[in-house]
Amino acid sequence: MNQPGQPFSLYGKPSKFEDDVVRFPTQNEVLPGNGVSWSPLHLLEGSITPNGLHFERHHNGVPQIDPAKHQLLIHGDVQQDLLFTMSDLARYPMQSKICFIECGGNSNAGWNSSPSRSEAGYFNGMASNSEWTGIPLSVLLNEAGLKTNAKWMIAEGADAFNMQMSIPIEKAMDDAFLAIYQNGEKIRPEQGYPLRLIVPGWEGVLNVKWLRRLKITNRPVMARNETSRYTELLPDGKARQFTFYMEAKSLITSPSANMLLKQPGLYQITGLAWSGRGKIKQVDVSADGGNSWAAAELQEPVLDKAFTRFRLPWQWNGKTTILKSRATDETGYVQPERTELVKKRGKHGFFHYNAITNWQIDEDGFVSQVYDKNEEQDSGDISIDSGWD
Protein backbone atom coordinates (compact mmCIF):
# COMPACT_ATOMS: atom_id res chain seq x y z
CA MET A 1 0.00 0.00 0.00
CA ASN A 2 1.76 3.12 -1.13
CA GLN A 3 -1.12 5.47 -0.54
CA PRO A 4 -2.90 6.59 2.62
CA GLY A 5 -5.80 4.41 3.72
CA GLN A 6 -9.34 5.21 4.80
CA PRO A 7 -9.94 7.47 7.79
CA PHE A 8 -11.33 6.30 11.14
CA SER A 9 -14.92 5.22 11.39
CA LEU A 10 -17.48 5.79 14.13
CA TYR A 11 -18.77 2.26 13.91
CA GLY A 12 -16.78 -0.34 12.01
CA LYS A 13 -18.22 -2.50 9.26
CA PRO A 14 -17.02 -5.71 7.56
CA SER A 15 -14.75 -5.44 4.51
CA LYS A 16 -16.55 -4.66 1.25
CA PHE A 17 -15.11 -7.96 -0.01
CA GLU A 18 -17.27 -9.81 2.53
CA ASP A 19 -20.62 -8.44 1.41
CA ASP A 20 -21.99 -11.92 0.73
CA VAL A 21 -21.83 -12.78 4.44
CA VAL A 22 -25.41 -11.85 5.20
CA ARG A 23 -28.60 -13.18 6.73
CA PHE A 24 -31.17 -14.80 4.46
CA PRO A 25 -34.72 -13.57 5.06
CA THR A 26 -37.85 -15.63 4.38
CA GLN A 27 -40.82 -13.41 5.00
CA ASN A 28 -44.52 -12.88 4.47
CA GLU A 29 -45.14 -11.28 1.06
CA VAL A 30 -47.57 -8.72 2.38
CA LEU A 31 -46.16 -8.21 5.88
CA PRO A 32 -42.38 -8.09 5.50
CA GLY A 33 -41.95 -7.95 9.30
CA ASN A 34 -43.48 -11.40 9.67
CA GLY A 35 -40.96 -14.15 9.05
CA VAL A 36 -37.40 -15.19 9.75
CA SER A 37 -33.89 -14.41 8.65
CA TRP A 38 -31.31 -17.15 8.78
CA SER A 39 -27.82 -16.70 10.16
CA PRO A 40 -25.07 -17.62 7.63
CA LEU A 41 -23.46 -20.21 9.92
CA HIS A 42 -21.62 -21.77 6.96
CA LEU A 43 -19.67 -18.53 6.42
CA LEU A 44 -18.69 -17.96 10.06
CA GLU A 45 -15.96 -19.38 12.33
CA GLY A 46 -15.46 -19.47 16.08
CA SER A 47 -18.53 -19.67 18.27
CA ILE A 48 -19.83 -16.12 18.76
CA THR A 49 -22.33 -14.92 16.17
CA PRO A 50 -21.72 -11.28 15.18
CA ASN A 51 -24.60 -9.09 16.34
CA GLY A 52 -25.59 -8.06 12.82
CA LEU A 53 -25.79 -11.71 11.74
CA HIS A 54 -27.73 -13.18 14.68
CA PHE A 55 -30.84 -14.90 13.31
CA GLU A 56 -34.15 -13.07 13.49
CA ARG A 57 -37.68 -14.30 14.01
CA HIS A 58 -40.32 -11.62 14.17
CA HIS A 59 -44.05 -12.12 14.22
CA ASN A 60 -44.95 -8.58 13.21
CA GLY A 61 -41.89 -6.43 12.63
CA VAL A 62 -39.20 -4.76 14.71
CA PRO A 63 -40.49 -1.99 16.98
CA GLN A 64 -38.36 1.09 17.49
CA ILE A 65 -38.51 1.56 21.25
CA ASP A 66 -37.27 4.64 23.09
CA PRO A 67 -35.73 3.26 26.29
CA ALA A 68 -36.72 6.43 28.15
CA LYS A 69 -40.35 5.40 27.61
CA HIS A 70 -39.96 1.66 28.11
CA GLN A 71 -41.06 0.06 31.39
CA LEU A 72 -41.22 -3.46 32.77
CA LEU A 73 -44.22 -4.57 34.83
CA ILE A 74 -43.98 -7.52 37.21
CA HIS A 75 -47.37 -8.48 38.62
CA GLY A 76 -49.78 -11.26 39.48
CA ASP A 77 -49.08 -13.77 42.23
CA VAL A 78 -46.48 -11.58 43.96
CA GLN A 79 -46.50 -9.71 47.26
CA GLN A 80 -46.06 -6.38 45.51
CA ASP A 81 -46.69 -5.52 41.84
CA LEU A 82 -43.74 -3.48 40.60
CA LEU A 83 -42.90 -1.28 37.65
CA PHE A 84 -39.31 -0.64 36.53
CA THR A 85 -37.90 1.99 34.20
CA MET A 86 -34.89 1.15 32.06
CA SER A 87 -32.73 3.63 33.97
CA ASP A 88 -33.70 1.95 37.25
CA LEU A 89 -32.88 -1.46 35.81
CA ALA A 90 -29.43 -0.20 34.82
CA ARG A 91 -28.58 -0.03 38.55
CA TYR A 92 -29.38 -3.68 39.20
CA PRO A 93 -26.63 -6.29 39.51
CA MET A 94 -25.83 -7.92 36.19
CA GLN A 95 -24.23 -11.13 34.98
CA SER A 96 -22.99 -12.34 31.62
CA LYS A 97 -23.66 -15.67 30.00
CA ILE A 98 -22.54 -16.98 26.65
CA CYS A 99 -25.41 -19.07 25.32
CA PHE A 100 -27.17 -20.00 22.13
CA ILE A 101 -30.70 -19.11 21.19
CA GLU A 102 -32.35 -21.50 18.75
CA CYS A 103 -35.81 -21.13 17.27
CA GLY A 104 -37.98 -24.20 17.88
CA GLY A 105 -38.55 -24.28 14.13
CA ASN A 106 -34.87 -24.34 13.20
CA SER A 107 -33.86 -26.92 10.53
CA ASN A 108 -37.51 -27.73 9.94
CA ALA A 109 -36.86 -28.40 6.24
CA GLY A 110 -35.44 -31.66 7.60
CA TRP A 111 -39.00 -32.93 7.99
CA ASN A 112 -39.49 -32.70 4.22
CA SER A 113 -39.20 -35.88 2.16
CA SER A 114 -36.47 -34.41 -0.03
CA PRO A 115 -33.28 -32.95 1.42
CA SER A 116 -32.96 -29.17 1.44
CA ARG A 117 -30.79 -27.62 -1.27
CA SER A 118 -30.00 -24.58 0.89
CA GLU A 119 -26.64 -23.67 2.36
CA ALA A 120 -26.07 -25.02 5.88
CA GLY A 121 -26.90 -21.74 7.62
CA TYR A 122 -29.90 -21.07 5.47
CA PHE A 123 -31.79 -24.02 6.86
CA ASN A 124 -30.03 -24.53 10.22
CA GLY A 125 -29.20 -20.92 10.99
CA MET A 126 -32.16 -20.09 13.17
CA ALA A 127 -29.63 -20.56 15.93
CA SER A 128 -27.00 -18.08 17.04
CA ASN A 129 -24.67 -17.64 20.00
CA SER A 130 -23.93 -14.48 21.97
CA GLU A 131 -22.63 -13.22 25.25
CA TRP A 132 -25.73 -11.75 26.86
CA THR A 133 -25.46 -9.46 29.88
CA GLY A 134 -28.27 -8.51 32.19
CA ILE A 135 -30.11 -8.89 35.47
CA PRO A 136 -30.80 -12.31 36.99
CA LEU A 137 -34.57 -12.62 36.96
CA SER A 138 -34.50 -14.08 40.48
CA VAL A 139 -33.32 -10.69 41.81
CA LEU A 140 -36.41 -8.93 40.45
CA LEU A 141 -38.83 -11.74 41.31
CA ASN A 142 -37.50 -11.82 44.87
CA GLU A 143 -38.01 -8.10 45.11
CA ALA A 144 -41.64 -8.50 44.04
CA GLY A 145 -41.93 -11.54 46.34
CA LEU A 146 -43.35 -14.74 44.85
CA LYS A 147 -46.49 -16.09 46.48
CA THR A 148 -46.58 -19.80 47.28
CA ASN A 149 -48.92 -20.59 44.37
CA ALA A 150 -46.56 -18.99 41.82
CA LYS A 151 -45.90 -21.75 39.28
CA TRP A 152 -45.67 -20.02 35.91
CA MET A 153 -44.52 -16.72 34.50
CA ILE A 154 -46.14 -15.18 31.43
CA ALA A 155 -43.72 -13.01 29.51
CA GLU A 156 -45.01 -10.40 27.06
CA GLY A 157 -43.27 -8.31 24.42
CA ALA A 158 -44.02 -4.75 23.31
CA ASP A 159 -44.02 -5.50 19.57
CA ALA A 160 -47.08 -5.31 17.30
CA PHE A 161 -47.69 -9.03 17.85
CA ASN A 162 -47.74 -8.54 21.64
CA MET A 163 -46.15 -11.94 21.94
CA GLN A 164 -46.85 -13.73 25.22
CA MET A 165 -45.37 -17.02 26.38
CA SER A 166 -45.69 -19.10 29.58
CA ILE A 167 -42.53 -20.27 31.34
CA PRO A 168 -42.28 -22.45 34.46
CA ILE A 169 -41.29 -20.43 37.53
CA GLU A 170 -38.44 -22.87 38.36
CA LYS A 171 -36.67 -21.87 35.14
CA ALA A 172 -37.37 -18.19 35.78
CA MET A 173 -35.75 -18.48 39.22
CA ASP A 174 -32.92 -20.71 38.00
CA ASP A 175 -30.87 -19.20 35.16
CA ALA A 176 -33.23 -16.89 33.27
CA PHE A 177 -32.20 -13.25 33.06
CA LEU A 178 -33.16 -9.93 31.51
CA ALA A 179 -30.55 -8.99 28.93
CA ILE A 180 -29.67 -5.40 28.13
CA TYR A 181 -26.37 -6.07 26.35
CA GLN A 182 -25.39 -8.48 23.58
CA ASN A 183 -21.70 -9.09 22.93
CA GLY A 184 -20.81 -5.99 24.91
CA GLU A 185 -23.11 -3.48 23.26
CA LYS A 186 -26.77 -2.70 23.81
CA ILE A 187 -29.03 -5.31 22.23
CA ARG A 188 -29.92 -4.50 18.62
CA PRO A 189 -33.56 -3.53 17.91
CA GLU A 190 -34.14 -6.78 16.01
CA GLN A 191 -32.92 -8.74 19.05
CA GLY A 192 -35.26 -7.04 21.49
CA TYR A 193 -33.89 -3.60 22.36
CA PRO A 194 -34.01 -2.40 25.06
CA LEU A 195 -34.82 -5.54 27.11
CA ARG A 196 -34.91 -9.23 26.27
CA LEU A 197 -35.75 -12.25 28.38
CA ILE A 198 -33.05 -14.91 28.06
CA VAL A 199 -34.07 -18.46 28.93
CA PRO A 200 -30.80 -20.38 28.35
CA GLY A 201 -31.11 -23.60 26.37
CA TRP A 202 -34.86 -23.34 25.89
CA GLU A 203 -36.88 -22.72 22.72
CA GLY A 204 -36.13 -19.41 21.05
CA VAL A 205 -39.72 -18.18 21.21
CA LEU A 206 -39.53 -18.09 25.03
CA ASN A 207 -36.68 -15.57 24.87
CA VAL A 208 -39.24 -12.79 24.56
CA LYS A 209 -37.90 -9.64 22.89
CA TRP A 210 -38.92 -6.08 23.72
CA LEU A 211 -39.97 -7.44 27.13
CA ARG A 212 -42.51 -5.26 28.93
CA ARG A 213 -44.51 -7.51 31.26
CA LEU A 214 -44.07 -10.57 33.47
CA LYS A 215 -47.23 -11.97 35.00
CA ILE A 216 -46.78 -14.53 37.74
CA THR A 217 -49.54 -17.14 37.81
CA ASN A 218 -50.41 -20.66 38.94
CA ARG A 219 -50.98 -21.96 35.38
CA PRO A 220 -49.95 -21.33 31.78
CA VAL A 221 -51.98 -18.81 29.78
CA MET A 222 -52.31 -21.17 26.77
CA ALA A 223 -51.33 -18.52 24.25
CA ARG A 224 -51.58 -19.15 20.52
CA ASN A 225 -47.83 -19.81 20.35
CA GLU A 226 -47.98 -22.55 22.97
CA THR A 227 -51.08 -24.31 21.63
CA SER A 228 -51.82 -23.79 17.94
CA ARG A 229 -48.11 -23.28 17.16
CA TYR A 230 -44.84 -24.42 18.74
CA THR A 231 -46.50 -27.74 19.56
CA GLU A 232 -45.59 -30.88 17.66
CA LEU A 233 -48.17 -33.13 16.09
CA LEU A 234 -47.30 -36.82 16.43
CA PRO A 235 -48.35 -39.65 14.08
CA ASP A 236 -51.08 -40.79 16.50
CA GLY A 237 -52.75 -37.37 16.37
CA LYS A 238 -51.61 -36.25 19.83
CA ALA A 239 -49.27 -33.27 20.10
CA ARG A 240 -46.24 -32.54 22.22
CA GLN A 241 -46.65 -29.31 24.20
CA PHE A 242 -44.21 -27.33 26.39
CA THR A 243 -41.20 -28.98 24.73
CA PHE A 244 -38.91 -26.32 26.12
CA TYR A 245 -35.46 -27.90 25.88
CA MET A 246 -33.53 -27.64 22.64
CA GLU A 247 -31.96 -31.09 22.43
CA ALA A 248 -28.34 -31.66 21.42
CA LYS A 249 -27.52 -30.96 17.81
CA SER A 250 -24.45 -30.58 15.66
CA LEU A 251 -23.78 -29.46 12.14
CA ILE A 252 -20.70 -29.45 9.95
CA THR A 253 -20.45 -25.89 8.66
CA SER A 254 -17.51 -26.59 6.33
CA PRO A 255 -17.49 -28.38 4.02
CA SER A 256 -21.25 -27.98 3.64
CA ALA A 257 -23.98 -27.61 1.02
CA ASN A 258 -23.12 -25.86 -2.24
CA MET A 259 -19.41 -25.57 -1.43
CA LEU A 260 -16.87 -26.95 -3.88
CA LEU A 261 -13.70 -28.84 -2.93
CA LYS A 262 -11.33 -27.94 -5.76
CA GLN A 263 -9.02 -30.92 -5.44
CA PRO A 264 -8.32 -33.96 -3.26
CA GLY A 265 -6.10 -33.37 -0.25
CA LEU A 266 -6.18 -32.18 3.33
CA TYR A 267 -9.23 -30.31 4.62
CA GLN A 268 -10.35 -29.33 8.08
CA ILE A 269 -13.87 -30.43 8.89
CA THR A 270 -15.38 -27.80 11.19
CA GLY A 271 -18.78 -27.27 12.70
CA LEU A 272 -20.93 -26.33 15.68
CA ALA A 273 -22.58 -28.36 18.39
CA TRP A 274 -24.90 -27.28 21.19
CA SER A 275 -27.36 -28.62 23.74
CA GLY A 276 -30.11 -26.97 25.73
CA ARG A 277 -29.46 -29.38 28.58
CA GLY A 278 -25.87 -28.41 29.31
CA LYS A 279 -22.40 -28.82 27.89
CA ILE A 280 -21.40 -30.73 24.78
CA LYS A 281 -19.41 -33.78 25.87
CA GLN A 282 -18.35 -35.16 22.51
CA VAL A 283 -18.79 -34.69 18.79
CA ASP A 284 -18.11 -37.66 16.54
CA VAL A 285 -17.46 -37.16 12.86
CA SER A 286 -17.77 -39.72 10.10
CA ALA A 287 -16.21 -39.28 6.66
CA ASP A 288 -17.59 -42.52 5.25
CA GLY A 289 -21.34 -42.23 5.65
CA GLY A 290 -21.44 -43.47 9.22
CA ASN A 291 -19.38 -46.68 8.91
CA SER A 292 -16.63 -45.30 11.13
CA TRP A 293 -16.48 -42.36 13.51
CA ALA A 294 -13.73 -40.27 15.06
CA ALA A 295 -14.00 -37.86 17.98
CA ALA A 296 -13.51 -34.27 16.82
CA GLU A 297 -11.46 -31.79 18.81
CA LEU A 298 -13.68 -29.46 20.85
CA GLN A 299 -12.58 -25.83 20.96
CA GLU A 300 -12.19 -24.62 24.53
CA PRO A 301 -13.91 -23.25 26.46
CA VAL A 302 -16.79 -25.72 26.22
CA LEU A 303 -19.67 -23.85 27.85
CA ASP A 304 -23.07 -24.73 29.25
CA LYS A 305 -25.89 -24.26 26.69
CA ALA A 306 -23.54 -22.58 24.23
CA PHE A 307 -22.21 -23.18 20.73
CA THR A 308 -19.13 -25.42 20.83
CA ARG A 309 -16.87 -25.36 17.79
CA PHE A 310 -15.49 -28.75 16.72
CA ARG A 311 -12.76 -29.51 14.22
CA LEU A 312 -11.14 -32.55 12.65
CA PRO A 313 -8.49 -32.88 9.91
CA TRP A 314 -9.65 -34.91 6.93
CA GLN A 315 -7.95 -36.25 3.84
CA TRP A 316 -10.29 -36.28 0.83
CA ASN A 317 -9.28 -38.92 -1.69
CA GLY A 318 -11.41 -37.48 -4.49
CA LYS A 319 -14.11 -40.14 -4.31
CA THR A 320 -17.77 -39.70 -3.49
CA THR A 321 -18.38 -39.87 0.24
CA ILE A 322 -20.67 -38.65 3.01
CA LEU A 323 -19.73 -36.52 6.01
CA LYS A 324 -21.73 -36.64 9.25
CA SER A 325 -21.41 -35.18 12.73
CA ARG A 326 -23.08 -36.49 15.87
CA ALA A 327 -23.23 -34.61 19.16
CA THR A 328 -23.41 -36.11 22.67
CA ASP A 329 -24.17 -33.82 25.60
CA GLU A 330 -23.26 -34.12 29.27
CA THR A 331 -26.55 -35.84 30.08
CA GLY A 332 -25.54 -38.66 27.71
CA TYR A 333 -28.14 -37.70 25.11
CA VAL A 334 -26.95 -38.61 21.59
CA GLN A 335 -28.10 -36.68 18.52
CA PRO A 336 -30.33 -39.02 16.49
CA GLU A 337 -30.14 -40.05 12.84
CA ARG A 338 -33.02 -38.65 10.79
CA THR A 339 -34.55 -42.12 10.36
CA GLU A 340 -34.68 -42.53 14.12
CA LEU A 341 -36.19 -39.09 14.71
CA VAL A 342 -38.85 -39.49 12.02
CA LYS A 343 -39.73 -42.95 13.37
CA LYS A 344 -40.37 -41.43 16.80
CA ARG A 345 -42.04 -38.20 15.82
CA GLY A 346 -43.44 -38.62 12.32
CA LYS A 347 -43.05 -35.77 9.84
CA HIS A 348 -45.69 -33.30 10.92
CA GLY A 349 -44.19 -31.94 14.13
CA PHE A 350 -42.68 -28.92 12.32
CA PHE A 351 -40.58 -28.01 15.41
CA HIS A 352 -37.56 -29.50 17.21
CA TYR A 353 -35.74 -31.10 14.28
CA ASN A 354 -32.26 -32.02 15.54
CA ALA A 355 -31.20 -34.98 13.43
CA ILE A 356 -27.73 -35.66 12.03
CA THR A 357 -27.08 -33.90 8.70
CA ASN A 358 -25.36 -35.77 5.85
CA TRP A 359 -23.17 -33.84 3.44
CA GLN A 360 -22.34 -35.78 0.30
CA ILE A 361 -19.15 -34.86 -1.56
CA ASP A 362 -19.36 -36.00 -5.17
CA GLU A 363 -16.39 -36.79 -7.44
CA ASP A 364 -16.31 -33.18 -8.64
CA GLY A 365 -16.01 -32.01 -5.04
CA PHE A 366 -19.51 -30.53 -4.94
CA VAL A 367 -21.26 -30.76 -1.58
CA SER A 368 -24.99 -31.39 -1.16
CA GLN A 369 -27.30 -32.74 1.50
CA VAL A 370 -28.53 -36.32 1.18
CA TYR A 371 -30.70 -38.51 3.38
CA ASP A 372 -29.57 -41.98 4.42
CA LYS A 373 -30.24 -44.62 1.74
CA ASN A 374 -32.45 -46.69 4.01
CA GLU A 375 -34.82 -43.78 4.55
CA GLU A 376 -38.13 -44.28 2.85
CA GLN A 377 -39.21 -41.74 0.28
CA ASP A 378 -42.82 -41.55 1.30
CA SER A 379 -45.82 -39.35 0.78
CA GLY A 380 -47.03 -36.74 3.19
CA ASP A 381 -44.52 -34.12 2.15
CA ILE A 382 -45.46 -30.60 2.99
CA SER A 383 -43.55 -27.58 1.85
CA ILE A 384 -42.35 -26.36 5.17
CA ASP A 385 -40.84 -23.09 3.95
CA SER A 386 -44.30 -21.53 3.84
CA GLY A 387 -45.16 -22.00 7.50
CA TRP A 388 -43.80 -18.83 9.05
CA ASP A 389 -46.83 -16.77 9.93
Binding site: E29, V30, L31, N34, H59, N60, L73, I74, H75, Q80, D81, L82, L83, F84, T85, D88, L89, R91, Y92, P93, I135, P136, S138, V139, L140, N142, A144, I154, E156, A160, F161, N162, Q164, P168, R213, K215, T217, R219, V221, M222, A223, R224, T227, S228, T231, L233, P235, G237, K238, A239, R240, Q241, F242, T243, F244, H348, G380, I382, S386, D389
Partner: protein, 181 residues
Protein backbone atom coordinates in the same frame (compact mmCIF):
# COMPACT_ATOMS: atom_id res chain seq x y z
CA UNK B 1 2.12 -18.74 56.99
CA UNK B 2 2.34 -15.15 55.97
CA UNK B 3 -0.14 -15.84 53.16
CA UNK B 4 -2.53 -17.49 55.56
CA UNK B 5 -2.53 -14.48 57.87
CA UNK B 6 -3.08 -12.23 54.89
CA UNK B 7 -6.00 -14.36 53.71
CA UNK B 8 -7.61 -14.28 57.15
CA UNK B 9 -7.20 -10.55 57.45
CA UNK B 10 -8.73 -10.06 53.99
CA UNK B 11 -11.71 -12.15 55.04
CA UNK B 12 -12.17 -10.09 58.16
CA UNK B 13 -11.97 -6.87 56.21
CA UNK B 14 -14.59 -8.08 53.71
CA UNK B 15 -16.72 -9.43 56.53
CA UNK B 16 -16.92 -6.17 58.39
CA UNK B 17 -16.98 -3.84 55.43
CA UNK B 18 -20.49 -2.39 55.50
CA UNK B 19 -20.24 -1.32 51.83
CA UNK B 20 -20.26 -4.90 50.51
CA UNK B 21 -23.86 -5.97 49.96
CA UNK B 22 -25.36 -9.41 49.49
CA UNK B 23 -25.14 -10.87 46.04
CA UNK B 24 -28.40 -11.38 44.12
CA UNK B 25 -29.95 -8.42 45.81
CA UNK B 26 -31.25 -5.41 43.93
CA UNK B 27 -31.39 -1.77 44.99
CA UNK B 28 -35.18 -1.97 45.40
CA UNK B 29 -36.16 0.58 42.77
CA UNK B 30 -39.43 -1.06 41.67
CA UNK B 31 -42.32 1.41 41.68
CA UNK B 32 -45.70 0.39 43.16
CA UNK B 33 -48.34 0.00 40.47
CA UNK B 34 -51.70 1.73 40.23
CA UNK B 35 -54.87 -0.27 39.53
CA UNK B 36 -55.48 1.76 36.37
CA UNK B 37 -52.12 0.81 34.93
CA UNK B 38 -52.61 -2.85 35.83
CA UNK B 39 -56.01 -2.88 34.16
CA UNK B 40 -54.58 -1.34 31.01
CA UNK B 41 -51.53 -3.61 30.81
CA UNK B 42 -52.89 -6.95 31.98
CA UNK B 43 -54.41 -8.38 28.81
CA UNK B 44 -53.75 -12.10 29.44
CA UNK B 45 -56.76 -14.36 29.03
CA UNK B 46 -56.86 -17.85 30.52
CA UNK B 47 -58.77 -20.98 29.40
CA UNK B 48 -61.21 -20.65 32.34
CA UNK B 49 -62.14 -17.16 31.11
CA UNK B 50 -60.09 -15.15 33.60
CA UNK B 51 -59.17 -11.88 31.94
CA UNK B 52 -62.01 -11.84 29.41
CA UNK B 53 -63.50 -8.33 29.14
CA UNK B 54 -67.14 -7.26 29.13
CA UNK B 55 -68.89 -7.26 25.78
CA UNK B 56 -70.33 -9.79 23.36
CA UNK B 57 -70.58 -10.70 19.71
CA UNK B 58 -72.73 -12.55 17.19
CA UNK B 59 -71.79 -14.81 14.30
CA UNK B 60 -73.44 -12.57 11.68
CA UNK B 61 -71.53 -9.46 12.82
CA UNK B 62 -68.35 -11.53 12.99
CA UNK B 63 -68.80 -12.72 9.42
CA UNK B 64 -69.02 -9.13 8.21
CA UNK B 65 -65.91 -8.09 10.14
CA UNK B 66 -64.03 -11.19 9.02
CA UNK B 67 -64.81 -10.46 5.37
CA UNK B 68 -63.34 -6.97 5.61
CA UNK B 69 -60.52 -7.39 8.18
CA UNK B 70 -59.32 -11.01 8.00
CA UNK B 71 -60.20 -12.44 4.61
CA UNK B 72 -57.20 -11.09 2.69
CA UNK B 73 -54.82 -13.42 4.59
CA UNK B 74 -57.03 -16.19 5.96
CA UNK B 75 -59.21 -16.50 2.81
CA UNK B 76 -63.00 -16.89 2.54
CA UNK B 77 -64.32 -19.37 5.08
CA UNK B 78 -61.01 -19.38 6.99
CA UNK B 79 -59.36 -21.93 4.69
CA UNK B 80 -56.04 -20.08 4.89
CA UNK B 81 -53.44 -18.98 2.34
CA UNK B 82 -49.70 -18.47 2.05
CA UNK B 83 -50.24 -15.31 4.12
CA UNK B 84 -52.32 -16.64 6.99
CA UNK B 85 -53.06 -19.80 8.96
CA UNK B 86 -55.83 -22.16 8.00
CA UNK B 87 -58.50 -21.53 10.63
CA UNK B 88 -61.37 -23.75 9.54
CA UNK B 89 -62.50 -26.34 7.03
CA UNK B 90 -60.25 -29.25 8.01
CA UNK B 91 -60.93 -32.18 5.69
CA UNK B 92 -57.90 -34.30 6.59
CA UNK B 93 -57.57 -35.67 10.13
CA UNK B 94 -54.61 -35.12 12.45
CA UNK B 95 -53.42 -38.68 11.80
CA UNK B 96 -53.51 -38.40 8.00
CA UNK B 97 -50.57 -37.78 5.66
CA UNK B 98 -51.76 -34.20 5.22
CA UNK B 99 -53.08 -33.19 8.64
CA UNK B 100 -54.99 -29.91 8.84
CA UNK B 101 -54.50 -28.13 12.14
CA UNK B 102 -57.44 -25.75 12.40
CA UNK B 103 -59.25 -24.17 15.34
CA UNK B 104 -61.80 -26.96 15.23
CA UNK B 105 -59.39 -29.84 14.70
CA UNK B 106 -56.41 -28.71 16.77
CA UNK B 107 -56.79 -25.70 19.08
CA UNK B 108 -57.37 -26.86 22.67
CA UNK B 109 -59.04 -23.70 24.09
CA UNK B 110 -61.57 -21.24 22.68
CA UNK B 111 -60.23 -18.40 24.86
CA UNK B 112 -56.92 -18.50 22.95
CA UNK B 113 -58.81 -17.38 19.88
CA UNK B 114 -60.18 -14.24 21.53
CA UNK B 115 -56.76 -13.50 23.01
CA UNK B 116 -54.78 -13.75 19.76
CA UNK B 117 -57.34 -11.73 17.79
CA UNK B 118 -57.41 -8.96 20.37
CA UNK B 119 -53.65 -8.83 20.92
CA UNK B 120 -52.29 -9.41 17.41
CA UNK B 121 -54.95 -9.10 14.73
CA UNK B 122 -55.41 -7.85 12.12
CA UNK B 123 -51.67 -7.88 11.47
CA UNK B 124 -51.86 -4.58 9.58
CA UNK B 125 -53.58 -2.83 12.52
CA UNK B 126 -53.37 -4.89 15.71
CA UNK B 127 -55.54 -3.59 18.54
CA UNK B 128 -57.93 -1.77 16.18
CA UNK B 129 -60.94 -4.00 16.88
CA UNK B 130 -63.24 -3.26 19.82
CA UNK B 131 -63.87 -6.02 22.36
CA UNK B 132 -67.36 -6.51 20.89
CA UNK B 133 -65.83 -6.92 17.43
CA UNK B 134 -63.29 -9.42 18.75
CA UNK B 135 -66.11 -11.42 20.37
CA UNK B 136 -67.99 -11.33 17.06
CA UNK B 137 -65.06 -12.56 14.96
CA UNK B 138 -64.39 -15.24 17.59
CA UNK B 139 -68.04 -16.33 17.31
CA UNK B 140 -67.86 -16.47 13.52
CA UNK B 141 -64.69 -18.59 13.56
CA UNK B 142 -66.16 -20.97 16.13
CA UNK B 143 -69.26 -21.22 13.95
CA UNK B 144 -67.17 -21.91 10.82
CA UNK B 145 -65.65 -24.82 12.75
CA UNK B 146 -69.10 -26.17 13.71
CA UNK B 147 -68.38 -25.54 17.37
CA UNK B 148 -71.37 -23.25 18.05
CA UNK B 149 -74.80 -22.60 16.54
CA UNK B 150 -75.35 -19.56 14.37
CA UNK B 151 -77.47 -17.78 17.00
CA UNK B 152 -75.09 -18.41 19.92
CA UNK B 153 -73.91 -15.16 21.59
CA UNK B 154 -70.25 -15.20 22.59
CA UNK B 155 -69.22 -13.31 25.72
CA UNK B 156 -67.14 -13.76 28.86
CA UNK B 157 -69.59 -16.33 30.21
CA UNK B 158 -70.17 -18.44 27.10
CA UNK B 159 -66.70 -18.47 25.51
CA UNK B 160 -64.91 -20.60 28.14
CA UNK B 161 -67.76 -23.12 27.91
CA UNK B 162 -67.29 -23.81 24.20
CA UNK B 163 -66.24 -27.45 23.97
CA UNK B 164 -63.08 -27.81 21.90
CA UNK B 165 -62.76 -31.28 20.31
CA UNK B 166 -58.97 -31.47 20.71
CA UNK B 167 -58.78 -30.21 24.30
CA UNK B 168 -57.21 -33.48 25.44
CA UNK B 169 -54.94 -33.81 22.42
CA UNK B 170 -51.81 -32.42 24.05
CA UNK B 171 -49.06 -34.03 26.10
CA UNK B 172 -47.33 -31.69 28.56
CA UNK B 173 -43.76 -32.82 27.88
CA UNK B 174 -42.19 -30.58 30.52
CA UNK B 175 -44.41 -31.99 33.26
CA UNK B 176 -44.02 -35.57 32.01
CA UNK B 177 -40.22 -35.31 32.11
CA UNK B 178 -40.27 -33.70 35.55
CA UNK B 179 -42.33 -36.53 37.00
CA UNK B 180 -39.85 -39.05 35.56
CA UNK B 181 -36.97 -37.27 37.24
Amino acid sequence: MKNKILAISVLIVVGINPAIAERDQGPGLGIPVTDDLLKQWDTSIFPDGEGLPMGSGHVTDGEEIYNTQCVSCHAPGGIGSALGDQLAGAQMSLTSDFPEQTIGSYWPYATTLFDIIRRSMPMTAPGSLSDDEVYAVTAYLLYLNNLIDKDQVINQETLPDVKMPNENGFINIYETERIKE
